[in-house]
Amino acid sequence: MSTAGGAATPSGVIAPEGTATRVDPGPDRAQYGLAAVLAVIGAWTVVDSAGLGPGFADQAVRPAAFGYVIGSALVLLAVLLAVATARGDRAEGEAGEDVDLDRGTDWRTLAGLAGVLVATVALIDWLGWAVVGALLFAGAATVLGNRHWVRNLLIGAVLSVASWYGFYVGLGIPIPPGVLDGVL
């Protein structure tokens, strides 16, 4: 691994990197993508509404009515967004208490987390919460930058088994045990 996440700054200079890229960045291309997605969702909502029946006799508002209104509103908003983007409108990312927008987006970490979530979805019905929960915690913590994966797994296992019992016994929510049926 090279100097990902910030190269060595000379003699303790306290300034985040990447601030210099703010000079006329041109239109926010990604926003066109957002507009396209909105338009697709809106169009689909309208199409879906068109396929609905007239509804019951006592329904004063036809089931399709809201779909038409909301769907066309979405399409309209998508167009407005595209126009605004072309005129130089830029999205301002949400600057939370814990987010430093001056640093670029860390796609590697994001991709790792997405992978962990997809694996969770794929395995949860088969392996059950106690196993998948532990893997989820350990995987997420490791991807987020904690290298001690043995410790992460231990914490994850404790958390997931404890939460399983907590839900099953304490709250009366019977989470299926999965492969650990009979063990837990």
């Binding site: 990902a4 060595a8 306290i14 814990d98 290298r147 231990l154």
Partner: protein, 133 residues
């Protein structure tokens, strides 16, 4: 030809820093102080703030050593330190050690151990003065 110190803003970091400064002065070499952090916690006690930084500068000045202090935010503190050592072609890398119980070693892993194994230059390991038990 440079002496590199892995510095943390605590007792063992200070021990390493003082030792490193002495070595650098004896050899007449430059000193690079590396205070790296992963930046994953809002507050990192081992990462020096303005006041700790000022204190270190004063300490180094009083020892008569001209030093460069680096504070990179990195993915992995150990690797960052080794990279700096490579970059400035360190003649010696000074690190601080702390006492670890056997269980602690097993669970936590050891930064010092990885440095000892992976460094391409001599490593000088210093222990912090421990309070008498």
């Amino acid at each position: 030809m440079t002496v590199v110190v892995g510095w943390t803003a605590d007792a063992r970091g200070r021990a390493a820093l003082v030792q490193g400064a002495h070595v650098a002065r004896l050899r007449g070499q430059e000193l690079v102080v590396v205070n790296a952090t992963t930046g994953t916690a809002v507050v990192d006690d081992r990462f020096a703030g303005a006041s700790a930084l000022e204190e270190v500068r004063r300490l180094l000045a009083s020892l008569g050593v001209d030093a460069e202090v680096r504070q990179p935010v990195v993915r992995d503190v150990t690797e960052a330190l080794l990279e700096v050592a490579d970059e400035v072609r360190a003649t010696v890398l000074v690190i601080g050690l702390r006492h670890r119980s056997p269980v602690g070693k097993l669970i936590m892993g050891s930064t010092a151990q990885r440095i000892l194994l992976d460094a391409r230059c001599p490593v000088l390991a210093v222990k912090a003065e421990e309070p008498a038990r």
